[in-house]
Symmetry: C2
Subunit: 310 residues, 2 copies
């Protein structure tokens, strides 16, 4: 019987292009490292080994919130001790809280003999997301659990996550070191949208899903455009429009804001292009005096996974 | 050199489930029969061999409107004589005008040595649709040309039709013999939609496209639901809600209004189910004293096509 597992839990891109609230994908870097161990004490204890000063009260911690829900479906008396080393900077827009929540439930599930399905783990981890954001959303959690490219077709009344095939793609993520407050990112969202613009958006969602499933890179590129959310949020990220222009000029298929920002992602056919695209976007932020980090890697085919067992 | 061709041009379902304005598919029945012949007289002459008393002035006829546009891209002096026998009742909601326009341009293209691409033919035929409806839309034209299941990702500034694979499916179409005026069907459309409902709709569009491309029948069934247009148009078709309930009870995956109605479609895994679904829906309309026709067939893998050459 396992006593302890070490889990790598990937960063993820939600609100992928036109797919606000529904499409996401998993990254190979950065990732959180989550160690989950059996504990003789029923319930959950959380420690953070990083420097982010996140709350460790389980009810106020994303991994804790996820595990408290999981425990309601586990044998009575079960206890977990969790140590989290965040590789993903909170607030960067690449699913930091989702990664910690996903890593925790995947680790706990391994210790419980994998008694839960991936869909159940998504459901549990959504309660971790709710600790962070106040809402049960799954668009980062789904790729953090399943890996690859995911569609959250429905959250309520029934959770319906559809894992989808993805062709080889290289993802560039540039994280400009500015703060985009989630409250601000929400406040600028329109509450209603013109029907004709909504139609263009769902045409693109259809195109993006088809592009992934048929490995049609040009279709992916044409379909990434978000007509509704990104135009509203663009002013929150200085340099975004120019960064996008430079990325496309450097050969990116397309991209946009990752999650609710400030990170910006681009999809690319080759690693060389992905690196050039990162450099091109970086120059835009540098010229504005904004520090930034660049991550380049393929889409992660796996979600949060056990990398060591004890 | 061919002098004359006979074309079968299929009925189509536009506004497929959640895919208002963008998703459509081609039916094996009913269909229009369009004969296109070379004419020594430049331009277009139209005859109708059916009893529908449709206009035969080319500028006011859907096939004529399509061919007048095609001729602007054809060698100078080209002329066509067209004879149309409509198998599709105008106003039934299964792409009657699109079929005649598609049949005409496919026939003309065959006589011209297939100098145009399918995408160009869609573009030309949209001008035929505009004769009938005043708007250049492609959601019936695209499947009428390409066959199968199609996504119209964009109409303007660039026409972008994406033909998609479809699994074996049986389509039931029930045409209740009532009139739904296009103007009424448009008038009830909301001009704007709540963002959260638009998100549910594009999640379903993603699910429906994925369901078709991965032959996931349950996903297709779950994804067909239209949260935006069908609730607004349902009152225009007496018995629709009950017909849907009976169809689902009889085993249909799902369905909805075809085009802007009054025809109603359901998708099914087997022919037996499709027949039973047709009978179940028919009983609902019969009980309301509404005459109806039922069509059952597989998705047409081909669009408008030459069946005889002279």
């Amino acid at each position: 019987m396992l006593d302890s597992v070490l889990v790598h839990a990937p960063a993820t891109i939600a609100n992928l292009g036109c797919g606000f609230d529904v499409l996401g994908l998993a990254l190979t870097a950065p990732y959180d490292v989550v160690r989950v161990s059996r504990s003789a004490t029923p319930g959950v204890q959380i420690r953070h080994l990083d420097h982010y000063k996140l709350p460790t009260d389980p009810a106020r911690n994303v991994a804790g919130g996820a595990l408290l829900t999981l425990l309601r479906h586990a044998p009575a008396g079960t206890g977990f001790a969790v140590e989290i080393t965040k590789g993903i900077m909170p607030g960067s827009g690449v699913g930091s809280s989702a990664a910690s929540a996903a890593g925790a439930v995947v680790g706990a599930n391994a210790l419980l003999g994998n008694m839960f399905t991936p869909m159940q783990l998504v459901d549990f981890a959504m309660d971790g997301e709710a600790v962070a954001s106040g809402a049960r959303h799954a668009d980062n959690i789904a790729p953090a659990i399943y890996g690859g490219f995911t569609l959250v077709r429905s959250v309520a009344p029934t959770l319906d996550v559809v894992p989808l095939a993805a062709p080889p793609l290289w993802v560039t993520v540039v994280h400009p070191q500015i703060e985009v407050k989630t409250a601000d990112a929400r406040k600028v969202l329109p509450t209603s949208v013109p029907l004709n613009r909504a139609v263009r958006q769902w045409a693109n969602v259809g195109g993006l899903v088809a592009g992934f499933l048929t490995a049609d890179y040009e279709l992916i590129g044409r379909s990434l455009e978000d007509y509704i959310v990104e135009p509203a949020r663009q002013p929150l990220i200085p340099g975004l429009a120019e960064a996008r222009r430079q990325a496309l000029a450097a050969g990116a298929l397309g991209g946009g804001i990752s999650g609710s920002g400030p990170s910006v992602f681009m999809l690319n056919v080759t690693e060389v292009t992905a690196q050039e695209v990162g450099a091109a976007m970086g120059r835009v932020f540098a010229a504005l005096g904004i520090d930034f980090r660049v991550y380049v890697g393929p889409i992660a085919t796996q979600g949060a996974r056990v990398v060591e067992e004890f």
